[in-house]
């Protein structure tokens, strides 16, 4: 398993635990009285992007047909760019979405827009790096 895949898969496992813990805290909120605004979309995206999509990204990078003899996994550098941008975007979103709900339209609104841009870059870069590897052999 290549090192980048190990980073993706281990990070995805952390997101799995984190998102399920947030789901638990959200559910027991009536008992604890701890209320965090906009926590449901954060939980949903930590689970679907952080856990599922990162796991897929890592396994695709590892298992898909080789791009060429010289570049079996196409650009490893681009793979790392995707890793960094998707994680920065996700963490920034998880922090700024609740804070933006408390104070809409301020700095946290711009941070939310920045997180949207980072996540979009990650998705597009992954598609670019993977497209050429979807082939017969």
């Amino acid at each position: 398993m290549p090192i980048l895949t190990r980073w993706y898969v281990k990070t995805s496992l952390l997101y799995l635990v984190l998102s399920l813990l947030i789901g638990l805290l959200n559910t027991i909120q009536p008992i604890t009285g701890l209320s965090v605004p906009a926590v449901f979309p954060v939980y949903l995206h930590l689970l679907t992007i952080g856990w599922l999509t990162l796991l897929i990204f890592g396994v695709v990078f590892w298992m898909f047909p080789k791009y060429s003899r010289e570049q079996p996994r196409r650009s490893e550098k681009l793979g790392w760019v995707v890793y960094v941008t998707v994680n920065l975007g996700l963490v920034l979103r998880a922090a700024s979405e609740p804070l933006n709900s408390l104070q809409p339209g301020g700095l946290w609104g711009w941070m939310l827009a920045l997180s949207a841009g980072l996540l979009w870059i990650a998705g597009i870069m992954f598609v670019i790096n993977t497209w050429g590897r979807v082939k017969e052999r």
Binding site: S96, A113, S115, L119, V134
Partner: protein, 135 residues
């Protein structure tokens, strides 16, 4: 990777790009309001990323790596898998376009029917391939 898998995986990647683009617009719009009508993109964002990206990718990889049969046709009745794929896509687009077709209230129901039919047809196709390798 066989032809249908290549189609499914490339469609999955295209849906990922579309879904992330719509998601980026929706998220940016939450932080820095651009236009309230952007919220109409939500069903398409959800469809593109759940059924378009994840389900498509899983079906494409399943068609590729599930055990093959010892005799031809090695991947079984592939027509069924193709039909499942077409139905799934009709469903995704039916649901995604429904917010823009206010007179067509039945469109989301038809979209879900297509998706359920696509899932059923693909499951019927894949069922016999879930077996010990080489048999």
């Amino acid at each position: 990777m066989p032809l249908l898998s290549r189609w499914m995986v490339k469609f999955a990647l295209a849906y990922l790009a579309l879904g992330f683009t719509l998601g980026g617009l929706l998220l940016a719009n939450k932080g820095v309001p651009i236009h309230p009508l952007l919220w109409r993109l939500l069903p398409a964002h959800q469809e593109f990323l759940i059924n378009g990206w994840m389900v498509h990718l899983a079906l494409g990889v399943a068609f590729w790596i599930l055990p093959r049969f010892a005799q031809e046709p090695k991947r079984g009745n592939t027509q069924l898998a193709w039909i499942g794929w077409v139905l799934l896509n009709l469903g995704i687009w039916g649901i995604s376009l429904s917010p823009y077709l206010p007179g067509w209230a039945w469109m989301p129901i038809l979209g879900r029917l297509f998706q359920a039919g696509g899932g059923l047809v693909f499951a019927l196709y894949a069922w016999p391939r879930v077996k010990p390798s080489g048999s």
